[in-house]
Symmetry: C2
Subunit: 323 residues, 2 copies
């Protein structure tokens, strides 16, 4: 496996949800210099469960970047055991949201520290560091933002829709409670405004529920708009299908065609360039912005690194067309 580490030390910012986005985030972390990458994690999925503060996207990013993720499930930790969940069921506790024994440690420790007055960003940074992660993983905000899913069956808290109802209710829209008044993390804004910033990369996460909550923070969105660095999105749709999760189902329910054109249109006001899969090459001419066509299905670690490298090069070309 070739690891093509760049000598470029300029900072790079990535916006990411959980499983899908974390694949590219890992690729970026591996090809960039230590400390160059800052990942902004969606916290709209966060919720309180069993009295614990759970941050699913932050945790997935931490586990993936630390090499601790569960390869089978895509979420949670590898070498997981399930004694807690079994015992909780015996006591009559709620078991619809699966928490593995190892995974539980991050929720208990985070909750303890939040109650002691520490910020989610400080706790996230220190946990990431304790697991040997050299990239910065920052929650989009330390304020409370909660994604709610408007469905034909009513408006549901995100995890009730996503896990308990298994994304079955038909979606008509989304709410990001608290987003309008949430302050983006100062380091996120500082990174976006850094004149040396090389690129802002929107990872191939679900646009509606993983990236939109981040873009719903007014100060973050306006900072993006005025950043000198190119903003590049990588499509979560390949050949009319979502690689994982309910992205395609949501698009259909919202009356949109499931293709890269819909994704590009969704990000229209935000991005300077768009990366689509070779499968979708024939749609490139219908897109009125700079397009990079690459194999974007990341199966291997090498795929993640290769795509990360290609996205960075694409950003460099957009920033400086003469090179």
């Amino acid at each position: 496996m070739t690891r093509v580490q760049t000598s470029d030390k300029r900072p790079v910012l990535a916006l990411s949800g959980g499983v899908g986005g974390s694949k590219l985030a890992l690729g970026l972390a591996r090809v960039l210099n230590h400390g160059a990458l800052t990942i902004v994690a969606n916290t709209g999925d966060d919720f309180e469960h069993l009295g614990l503060h759970i941050s699913p996207d932050i945790d997935t990013l931490i586990y993936v970047l630390a090499g601790l993720q569960n390869q089978q499930t895509g979420w949670g930790r590898r070498d997981e055991t399930w004694s807690f969940m079994a015992a909780l069921g015996e006591l009559g506790g709620e078991t619809w949201f699966k928490l593995g024994d190892r995974d539980l440690a991050i929720h208990v420790e985070r909750t303890r520290r939040l109650r002691a007055g520490e910020t989610l960003s400080t706790i996230t940074s220190e946990i990431a560091r304790s697991l040997g992660i050299t990239s910065r993983i920052l929650p989009m905000t330390d304020d409370r933002v909660r994604t709610r899913v408007i469905t034909q069956s009513g408006t549901l808290d995100f995890q009730r829709y996503f896990v308990e109802a298994q994304c079955l209710p038909e979606v008509t829209g989304f709410l990001f409670d608290g987003a309008a008044h949430a302050q983006p993390h100062p380091e996120v804004l500082a990174t976006i405004r850094n004149p040396a910033l090389r690129a802002i990369i929107i990872c191939p996460s679900n646009p509606f529920i993983s990236i939109d909550p981040i873009l719903a923070l007014p100060d973050l969105r306006s900072a993006l708009a005025s950043s000198v660095a190119p903003v590049i999105a990588v499509s979560p749709i390949i050949g009319g299908h979502a690689v994982k999760g309910p992205t395609a189902k949501m698009m259909k329910e919202l009356g949109r065609t499931v293709d890269v054109l819909t994704v590009a249109d969704h990000y229209r006001d935000v991005i300077d360039g768009f990366v689509i899969d070779t499968t979708d090459a024939q749609l490139a001419s219908k897109l009125d912005l700079p397009i990079e066509v690459r194999p974007i299905l990341m199966l291997s670690l090498a795929d993640r690194e290769t795509l990360a490298h290609a996205v960075l090069k694409f950003a460099d070309r957009l920033a400086n067309p003469t090179t």
Copy 2:
């Protein structure tokens, strides 16, 4: 194994700490009619750890009565796994107090319900019922009482002394913070005042740290003094040694002789009868109260039942000397 179930339906009250006391509590639960036994658990050992409310003595009683206890350690659950603790250590969390993955369920569920406004007694009852326990296990109070250990090295929170410092500091006394104003659970008082009450049994727990916190509740102590039922203590000391834990070490450090005379003297104002081991039979004549001499080292389940039966018969004889 003979199970000698009594046909007597009168209620019985037991005061108990954790490991030692739970052996006799289990014996009583097995020989008494379903629902006849109420066990009052010490909550002076309770503490907040990792943001969780931990009630060690209640949990030991629940696990022992549900047949879920860890036979090797004496505390915690059988078939335990330790993934949570290992993962917590990796994150830099506190690991001096060992919480198994299965055990964790009771702490998380209890803490969630306490935060939702339920009482410790309600939560305890419902968890016990969900595990099939037919005896009532009640915390001595729903109010906050915290045992603190006065040592040559300063005054320590109980679990810091007991677990972290491994009982090594030399003890000079104990404080039961909150006990003076704590209200005993109303059902405990009602049981003590029940004219049909057959016996009040002080289980062979550590007098200083398991039973004294219960007796430190003024209303509970005065109710005991006026109860019509005989109060019987079973010695935690056999042949000058404690069966388990720091009882003997504490007695020495407090300048007392480690023998049944010291235990009887300690309970002098409270008990009507005292049960000592056959090993200590020669000391019976030095005790100025009714004495029952029995093998009290409970190794097998049959030992627990036999002693429970003997203690109840002793109480019956004290209550009605002519039978």
